[in-house]
């Protein structure tokens, strides 16, 4: 039943390795971009607040598929922006990461913003009483506490991101979902076996992440 795995025709581990890489680069990128967005959304400058709010509301309501395909068709094929990728494979990977960062950043931003709300008012007030500027209050006092409170929500965003990397299949990045599509077409007699292999792969990727970060979130939570 599972003999398609031994045929050497399919590189299942290689495909999942691409999934892991997509997840890693997008996770780092969206954590940075999401923090910047959250900073904008709580900043004293009305224009920055407006931009942050508009960006989050626009991008969150757009399908990720549209963003990723837009990066490929619009940026790369029409405008010729290849992000320094030299081969088709390299360019596709980078474009997918760009789309994933643009999309996931909004969810990181919203999670952080809810985390900022859990920091007691007195913390920021005390910091301001000491004469710290907004930027200092945010980066030295509020965000460090907020990050500790949002480990669990961020873990959920990370798990969702892991699953969302499959969208990269729509622009031909050779990750797990694209290989699964190819195998389902070629191995029509083993549909359930193919599904089982890929389902197991994703359970193995997402379950430990959830358990580990769930444990971390309990460890680092600020006791109030």
């Amino acid at each position: 039943m599972f003999d398609f795995l031994d045929s050497g025709q399919y590189d299942v581990l290689g495909a999942f390795w691409v999934t892991v890489q997509l997840t890693f680069y997008s996770a780092v990128g969206s954590l940075i971009w999401g923090t910047v967005l959250a900073g904008m959304r709580v900043s004293p400058v009305p224009l920055l607040r407006g931009f942050g709010t508009a960006y989050v509301n626009l991008v969150r309501n757009t399908p990720l598929t549209l963003l990723v395909i837009g990066c490929s068709l619009g940026l790369s094929q029409t405008l010729g922006i290849n992000l320094g990728g030299e081969t088709f494979k390299e360019t596709g990977f980078r474009l997918a990461v760009l789309g994933l960062i643009a999309y996931t950043g909004t969810f990181v931003c919203e999670a952080l913003r809810s985390g900022i709300n859990t920091v007691p008012v007195g913390q920021a007030e005390a910091a301001r009483a000491l004469g710290l500027s907004f930027f200092q209050v945010l980066t030295l006092i509020v965000l460090p506490q907020a990050f500790r409170a949002v480990v669990a929500p961020l873990a959920n965003v990370l798990i969702a991101l892991t699953k969302n990397t499959t969208v990269a299949a729509t622009i031909g990045v050779a990750e797990a979902a694209l290989l699964m599509k190819e195998m389902l077409e070629n191995e029509a007699q083993a549909v359930f076996a193919v599904f089982a292999v890929f389902a197991l792969g994703f359970v193995l990727l997402t379950l430990p992440t959830g358990l580990l970060l769930g444990w971390v979130s309990k460890r680092v939570a600020v006791k109030r």
Binding site: G70, G74, F134, V142, P153, T170, A177
Partner: protein, 298 residues
């Protein structure tokens, strides 16, 4: 405008805010100018790329509106099937029988861990001629709906569970005290109250479903809104303009739903009727695999 993080700006801070605003405008303007000039260079700003959406009604009647209808149809049908299924699964997870709890729990966790795209691909392969032989013209539609139902019923199960658990314990105890059976307690006392608490989260989930239908268009050949991009761009060679218009349609529809969700949430939190408990309708959390948080009235 003041907040916890900063004081109401004085004269100095006001000047500083203007300076920051100025810097931002300049940077944003530069990026915009760069993007627009690049688009202009490639001829993407030419009027004939954009005017079809205003002058040629066929773009709307042949492509965009039928595409949007398919998207809404798949989303509505998936929601209609996933809702009762998810309610059953959610109640199953709260069952008194450990066996039922474990089995339903495993089912729910399994389908939440798998990307919805893989469930769609799997359903599509199941409906292929060799196995179930669904007619090829409706196969993409049913594959998309099946994938969405499998994934979202598991997510909704978690929302239902959180909704029921958000109710005060006294509700179930009172029902037991007046002699209701387990099924009656659930059907007459707990679920009706939980539904109001769940409403925002369910509306947010509908947004997630609508966005996910786009996957079917990209990989399964489902003729939904996003897939119309290829056909319109083939006629007018205006990929970027079409992408903008399609994105705008998605944003309008989803923004309306998101606004409805947050309006519902605010109303429920403020209302005197009911328990004031709300399963948070935060798209981020629900999108992230249904870890629906439970909020209590302040």
């Amino acid at each position: 405008m003041s907040s916890v993080l900063y004081d109401t700006p004085g004269p100095k801070a006001k000047v500083r805010n203007w300076v920051y605003s100025g810097i931002f405008v300049v940077l944003f303007g530069l990026v915009l100018w760069w993007a627009l000039s690049l688009m202009g260079e490639k001829g993407q700003l030419d009027a004939d790329k954009w005017t079809p959406f205003v002058t040629d009604s066929q773009v709307w009647t042949t492509y965009l509106i039928p595409g949007l209808m398919e998207t809404l149809k798949a989303g509505a049908l998936a929601m209609a099937i996933a809702l009762p299924l998810g309610a059953l699964l959610g109640i199953g997870r709260l069952s008194d029988h450990a066996g039922v709890r474990a089995a339903v729990g495993a089912w729910v966790e399994f389908f939440r861990a798998i990307p919805v795209l893989m469930l769609m691909l799997f359903s599509s392969a199941l409906y292929a001629p060799q196995l179930m032989d669904v007619p090829s013209d409706t196969r993409p539609f049913w594959a998309v709906v099946t994938g969405l139902v499998l994934y979202n019923s598991a997510v909704i199960a978690e929302i239902v569970r959180a909704g029921v658990l958000s109710l005060p314990k006294g509700q179930a105890e009172a029902a037991k005290a007046i002699g209701l059976r387990k099924g009656q307690t659930m059907a007459y006392v707990l679920l009706p109250q939980a539904v109001t608490a769940m409403l925002p989260a369910l509306v947010s989930q509908l947004v997630v479903i609508l966005k996910d239908t786009a996957l079917g268009g990209a990989l399964l050949g489902f003729a939904e809104l996003l897939s119309m991009n290829r056909q319109i761009a083939a006629n007018y060679s205006n990929t970027i303009a079409t992408m903008f218009v399609i994105a705008l349609i998605y944003i309008v529809v989803n923004f309306a739903l998101t606004t409805l969700a947050s309006w519902l949430e605010k109303r429920l939190r403020g209302s005197k009727k009911g328990t004031g408990a709300v399963v948070e309708g935060d798209v981020a959390e629900v999108d992230a695999g249904g870890a629906a948080g439970v909020g209590k009235a302040p």
